[in-house]
């Protein structure tokens, strides 16, 4: 005897709905937010404020190193964490050098792309206020061990091939003692080598900007005092931008990211409600069946 097809209710359909509808709604929401601006107040976490305060106190006769390990996949979040930090340094007149490596080879191009217009806007000069070092091959910390003792012979040239000794701001920078802070921007949390070979040995303060999803590992080092600041994703850079009293890429991204997170959480809740209701209905139907028999 052929079974009669069971009638599917709204919740069953919702439980097994085609994910493409979810994608479509999400895409439409992101497109709409491209044109709409929702003013969300951005609170400033302690991890961001501590970094800001530290930059305010940094001496101007030492440089800051920014390890720019950006890549295109992370650029939506990473751009803000890089730009906002660099802008603060340029505004304060603290010279900084961008450390780049061959593993995250796009970092050098991104640093150049973002710093050139920023420096022009703030009337800053390459070589005097900032510079971008030539890429270094990462060697599990051996390159940092060498960098700490002799910057010029480890990095040798900037991205254009100019020897570091010919760059005005680098003339008196010999070793890690001429560095007041190291800041790493990267998607993942691979700052352990900076902690192990630089912060732990020489006491040079270390901070990082990372993707929100990777930041949970970095919080370990906040508690231990090894990290002096953390910009966790777009929220971190948006909070820093609010301290600088400007609206940059962090603020733009965080609005969309907030709604995206709400959408994901909403999807989780809706999916579970649908599952429970369907389960309850099936259990109720089974009980009714057994009672009628």
């Amino acid at each position: 005897m052929a079974e009669t097809p069971q009638k599917t209710g709204m919740w069953e359909r919702l439980e097994h709905c085609d994910p493409r509808y979810l994608y479509l709604i999400f895409a439409l929401m992101m497109v709409a937010l491209e044109f709409l601006t929702v003013a969300i107040p951005v609170p400033v976490p302690d991890t961001v404020r501590s970094l800001y305060d530290r930059i305010e106190k940094l001496p101007k006769d030492k440089i800051v190193i920014i390890d720019c390990s950006l890549d295109a996949g992370y650029i939506a979040e990473g751009r803000g964490t890089f730009e906002v930090f660099a802008e603060h340094l340029l505004r304060r007149g603290i010279p900084f050098a961008v450390f780049t490596n061959t593993t995250f080879y796009q970092g050098q191009a991104f640093a150049l792309k973002y710093l050139t217009p920023m420096a022009a806007r703030l009337h800053k000069e390459y070589g005097k206020d900032y510079c971008i070092w030539g890429a270094v091959v990462l060697q599990n910390g051996a390159e940092l061990q060498a960098l700490a003792k002799d910057v010029h012979n480890t990095v040798k040239v900037d991205y254009k091939g100019t020897p570091l000794a010919d760059i005005p701001m680098m003339k008196n920078v010999t070793d890690i003692h001429n560095v007041s802070l190291v800041y790493r921007v990267a998607y993942d949390w691979q700052g352990v080598q900076w902690l192990g070979f630089i912060q732990g040995v020489y006491g040079t303060p270390f901070a990082c900007g990372t993707a929100a999803i990777s930041s949970s590992n970095a919080y370990n080092f906040i508690r231990s005092g090894q990290l002096c600041g953390l910009l966790a994703g777009a929220a971190g850079s948006a909070a820093y931008e609010s301290l600088l009293d400007e609206k940059g890429s962090g603020t733009r991204v965080v609005m969309k990211q907030s709604f995206a997170v709400l959408y994901v959480v909403g999807a989780i809740i809706l999916g579970n409600i649908a599952m429970f209701l369907v389960k309850a209905r099936k259990t109720g139907a089974a009980r009714m069946d057994s009672s009628t028999r």
Binding site: F26, Q139, A142, Q145, H177, N178, S180, N217, Y219, V261
Partner: protein
Amino acid sequence: MSKRGALKILAFLCGLYFILDFVLPAKLGGDFDGYAVDSPAPATTSDGTAIFYVGRYDQARSAVGRLAYSGGQWRRWPDKPVIQRSLFVSDDQAGVEQLDVLAGGSGLEVLYIGVNRDQVGTLCRAEGDPSGVSWQKKDPVRFGTDPNSAPEPTLEHPNGKLPGELKFFAAARVGDQWQMLLVLNQMGKGLQVWRASGKDWSDLRLDKEPLLTSKSFEGLKGPNGWNIPDPLAALTAFDARPIPGGWQMYFASDYTTHTTGNLPVNKISSLERRENGTIVPVAVARHLQTASKVTAMRVTPDAKSLALSASRKLNPPPPPEYSTKETQLVLLPLQGGAAEAAATDEAIAKAEVAANIAVARGTAAILGTTVPGPAEAVEIAMAIAGGEAVAAAPANVAAAAAEAAETAATAGEVIKNIGAKPTPTYVSRGIQWANTVLQVIGSFAVFIAMINLVMYHGKRVIRKQKPAYSLVFFVFLLGMFLFSLMAKTGGTASGAGSWAGWQVGFDFLFNNIVQPMTTAVFSMITFFMISAAYRSFRVRSLEAAMLMVAACLVMIGQMPIGQWLGAGLPESLYMFRMTWVSQKLLTVINACASQGVTIGLMVGGLSITLRIWLGLDNSVYSGLEEKR
């Protein structure tokens, strides 16, 4: 010897080298002040006048030394430092700065700014015997602002809560009270001078308002009618001493950035700040203008001289083990010279002009060697004098300038250079060579990856296995390689000629193909996350429920919208705020679990590394066995 044995020995030696470089200091031997000398503080001891100073072994380690006058010159006595930085107390773990030595009840008192590992300064204190050879550290000085309660130091603020970051200070004993002036950097407001006083170092009271700010110098004119520049704006050193009815303060300022050519200009000025609030400039008889910057100074107990530390950049810079600056301690008499000889305001004015010009000409240089030309001299003099018409100085000033120059040039006495320099170790010097070798080896990895990809796709093209995809690989590999190579080597650095074209091509490929494609691929993850969140993240057990609740709280709490959601709750219900909950989850629960995992990973990694290094793990050499 087998290949495996040779490789094991090589690996062991390389590992040993890097460990030795990491563990051993970069330099050995030398004096504790072999890197730099700084912060002189003259004091009257039971052995006569002594000068205490900060000696640096390197940029991270400093200690306090003592100079005694014997045999016609200042010598270090005792030879070892009299005060060392603390190893276990954090206040001065990273160094000592800005000494001041005072006569105390039964001996000497030293105050200094101790620097902790976060580079935050704390005003520390130690008590010494009358000779100043033996010292015992005491609790930091404590400041309070509330007259009804004692100062409350915290771990973060060992001195109590100050209105700004401590930069400089001066202290003196007046009657039964300690009097102090603190130069504090208040965020957004710049440097300010605050006064504190009290009978006990553990309970000094700060005034409610600063004694001096930059505003105090607005419109302030000297006896010659020129504007007095704000010394706080470019302050590099500070000292003060109480005088009847007020304080006399000494400022060392660096006006280098005020000159168009960035010529080095450093000047010492002085003023009296009287109790009625008036500020009276005092002509300093001796001027110091050199390429050297004054980094610290103290007036001698008899107020006849100024002990200062001067620092000058070395060009070309020395090897990295040594300081890039030449530092010296100088004793500069405050009496005599052109300004004191001048009795009238007009004469003081002329002497000021003369001294400024003399100073600017560099002829008054005690330590420096820079001698700028006449035009630059006028420019510097204008910078020092606040931009007034120094250029129109009368002709007879030139003679006074020469006189002032002559007196000033012979005024200072270098009392201490740096001690014996330490010797760099060969292990330390070799690390650069070893790193270069590693860089070269690491670079080969790129070629290996490229060769591997070329072989793989080359086979697919030859065998006609969907060759179109593989051809796309070859086109872009060659394109990026060619444009990148030519952009670096194909033209002049100025961007002229063919170089610019190749660079435009490279930028186009990077900005319009590489970057958008990488971003697009990464963005796809978001869609998969949504699908997974909706269809797979189901609460089927208690553990899954806990995981889901924690994930949702952290996700929302990390976002401003989540932080905003609970912001309206009253302070007493702070634990229900999304921010608080997510931060606690991240920084306590997550951190504890994650730290456990990390420690486990590290211990495991260490044991594997040790096994490989000592040649106990043969698995890394298994390829060799197969070939044999």
